[in-house]
């Protein structure tokens, strides 16, 4: 295959809006300078460059149904992410992608969907939730479970209010611990939400994104409910330095997460020793 251009060359994008989500996470709305749509699927990611600092893989948090711009939600943890947090409206960043497979919309359509978001796992899942909301008739029941450690860590609080009230979703939430007496919701880890609902497992797809520790427990709950392994979907994080299947950093055994993933079914992962 003859290459058309450098796979490492980012497109320039403008930061059109930023918004604080929590103490550590901010939302960034971006627009490609050449006016193109990003053209992504929910669950895909981009490589975002801050020139002179570096590049980081970030999930696309907005739905492709939202035209003209796209959003990433970012926790400040290191060089690139902290530099991004310091940028102001109008700043230029680089974007490569979209990369990865994304959530399998074709398989989800017509089915019931159980979305399980732990902490900033909600950032990528929001692209799916918003997509479903804009194409609600294509999906069956949609259950949305969101768990995080404390109330202060809840992201997209405006949207959470909307989902709580919306008839489109059956919304469940928990916080691991809470000292706020006004909180009437569940206190406990996200798995404590599972006894609160029943599902039709044969037509339910679970879509799970959260910290690595969460996966094992949530998968067990899904299996408990009778969801088949190939209907349990997870998005995995790995170190990524290229996003295009060259640098080798994202390998799980013989699988390249940036190419075959980041979304996998549990049946694909259960025999991959290094996966979960």
């Amino acid at each position: 295959m003859r290459e058309k251009e450098s796979i490492y060359l980012p497109k320039l994008a403008e930061l059109v809006r930023t918004e604080g989500l929590t103490e550590r996470e901010r939302l960034f709305e971006l627009k490609l300078r050449n006016g193109d749509e990003l053209g992504h699927q929910p669950g895909q990611f981009v490589e975002l460059s801050i020139f002179g600092v570096g590049e980081a893989p970030l999930s696309i948090s907005s739905s492709p149904t939202k035209k003209g711009s796209f959003e990433v939600g970012v926790r400040a943890v290191g060089n690139v992410t902290n530099a991004l947090h310091r940028l102001e409206k109008g700043a230029t960043v680089g974007i490569r992608g979209p990369f990865g497979n994304g959530f399998p919309l074709d398989r989800l359509k017509g089915q019931d969907v159980l979305i399980v978001a732990g902490g900033i796992g909600l950032v990528p899942l929001r692209s799916l939730v918003n997509y479903i909301e804009d194409n609600r008739q294509d999906f069956g029941r949609v259950l949305l479970l969101f768990g995080c450690r404390t109330l202060q860590e809840q992201l997209f609080v405006g949207e959470l209010d909307h989902w709580r009230a919306s008839k489109d979703f059956e919304y469940y939430e928990s916080v691991d611990r809470c000292e706020d007496p006004s909180w009437k919701g569940q206190v406990g880890v996200i798995t404590t939400l599972f006894p609160q609902f029943t599902i039709a497992p044969e037509k339910t797809y679970a879509v799970i994104v959260g910290p690595p520790v969460m996966y094992r427990f949530v998968i067990a709950e899904c299996k408990n409910k009778g969801i088949p392994d190939d209907q349990i979907l997870l998005s995995l994080e790995r170190r990524m330095k290229c996003g295009v299947g060259k640098c080798g950093h994202c390998q799980i055994n013989n699988v390249y997460v940036c190419q075959e993933g980041p979304v996998f079914t549990y049946s694909e992962l259960k025999n991959l020793e290094e996966a979960i």
Binding site: M1, R2, E3, E5, S6, I7, Y8, L9, P10, L12, S49, F51, G52, V53, G54, E55, A56, V77, G78, T81, T92, G94, P211, P212, E237, R238, R239, K241, C242, V244, G245, K246, C247, G248, H249, Q251, I252, N253, N254, Y256, Q259, E273, E274
Partner: protein
């Protein structure tokens, strides 16, 4: 394939002819060790060597390579950067040619890498059969002691002359333009065959399993105690991967000019044997313990690359065996241990 013959007397004018046209990299000797370097004249060139310290990979995937250049400030501009100056690599052994074929597969796969591909297209490979293999090499076990593909020209020393196998039009052109040759006879080719067979007998190491068996042998032994036993001695220094002709993983970083008006993005060789290779920013390290890193290297070479690119990731050069201070990087020993135990 077409074969020509060039006498040893006619070789220097040929090489010097190439030098007049294009950059030539060849094998040089220093303190009994061999290394690839740019040559200025035929006299610097060594065509009878066992193995070089670092494989010719460095000319296709440089240890440090600029990918982008950008300007900073008000209007950021970014441009790809590709250095693909034409070059001949002269005197590449068959196992290193096999490794380059694997690199070609990696970098042309699904998202072709323009930096590599441009450079590769501008690189002419003139191979030479290895007559005196390194004591650490085990090429016959890997099927890499000779090759019929992957070169533009391939020399075999048959005494007073070299048989030249012609692997590409580009190779043929260069030969026509710069060398005085004659067509090879049956007798020349018979001698070439004999020389190659003689070399085969000189290899000291061999794997007790057939090469086709290796992927499965590993798969059956994912949890074998051997990995932990070897890892207990591993220094996580990455030497075994730095010298390996099939190790292609890299890290990417940015750097800026001192006056902050611009900068560049570069990649540099990285190693899955280093502790932080699979560590993500939140602290999770997916190959934290040495055992999983050491096993990953062996599996990548003997199994994963075959699945992904259709070629095994080890060409039997033995460089890792010589490079590892802890004496635990030998594929021969590992495979043989597994084979004996099975």
């Amino acid at each position: 394939m077409k074969y020509e013959v060039i006498t040893k007397e006619d070789l220097p004018p040929f090489v010097n002819g190439l030098l007049s046209e294009i950059e030539v990299v060849g094998v040089k000797r220093k303190d009994g060790k061999f290394y690839f370097d740019r040559i200025e004249s035929y006299d610097e060139l060594c065509l009878d060597y066992d193995v070089t310290l670092i494989p010719p990979k460095k000319y296709l995937l440089p240890p440090n390579e600029t990918l982008l250049k950008f300007s900073l400030g008000e209007a950021i501009q970014v441009e790809p950067f590709i250095d693909a100056a034409p070059r001949i690599i002269l005197g590449v052994h068959p196992y290193d040619i096999k490794a380059i074929e694997l690199m070609d597969a990696v970098f042309s796969d699904s998202n072709p890498d323009a930096n590599y591909m441009e450079r590769r297209r501008n690189t002419v490979i003139v191979g030479v059969d290895c007559r005196n293999p390194s004591p650490n090499a085990f090429c016959p076990s890997m099927g890499t002691a000779t090759t019929e593909t992957g070169f533009d020209l391939m020399l075999t020393d048959i005494g007073e002359q070299y048989v030249v196998a012609i692997g590409s039009e580009k190779g043929e052109e260069l030969l026509k333009k710069h060398a005085r040759t004659r067509q090879a006879t049956e007798a020349d080719l018979a001698q070439r065959k004999a020389v190659r067979e003689e070399a085969l007998a000189k290899y000291k190491l061999s794997i007790k399993a057939a090469v086709e068996e290796i992927p499965e042998l590993l798969e059956r032994n994912y949890d074998h105690p051997l990995w932990e036993e070897l890892a207990a001695k591993c220094l996580s220094c990455g030497s075994c991967t730095m010298v390996c002709p099939t190790c292609v993983c890299f890290d990417v970083q940015d750097d800026v000019e001192l006056n902050l008006t611009g900068g560049w993005r570069f990649r540099q060789w990285d190693s899955c044997m280093l502790q932080g290779f699979a560590k993500v920013a939140t602290g999770e390290n997916f190959r934290e313990d040495r055992t999983s890193r050491l096993r990953h290297r062996y599996f990548r070479k003997g199994n994963y690359m075959l699945k992904r690119y259709g070629k095994l990731g080890c060409v039997g050069c033995g460089r890792c065996i010589g490079a590892c201070l802890a004496e635990i990087a030998s594929p021969v020993e590992a495979y043989n241990r597994l084979k004996e135990g099975s």
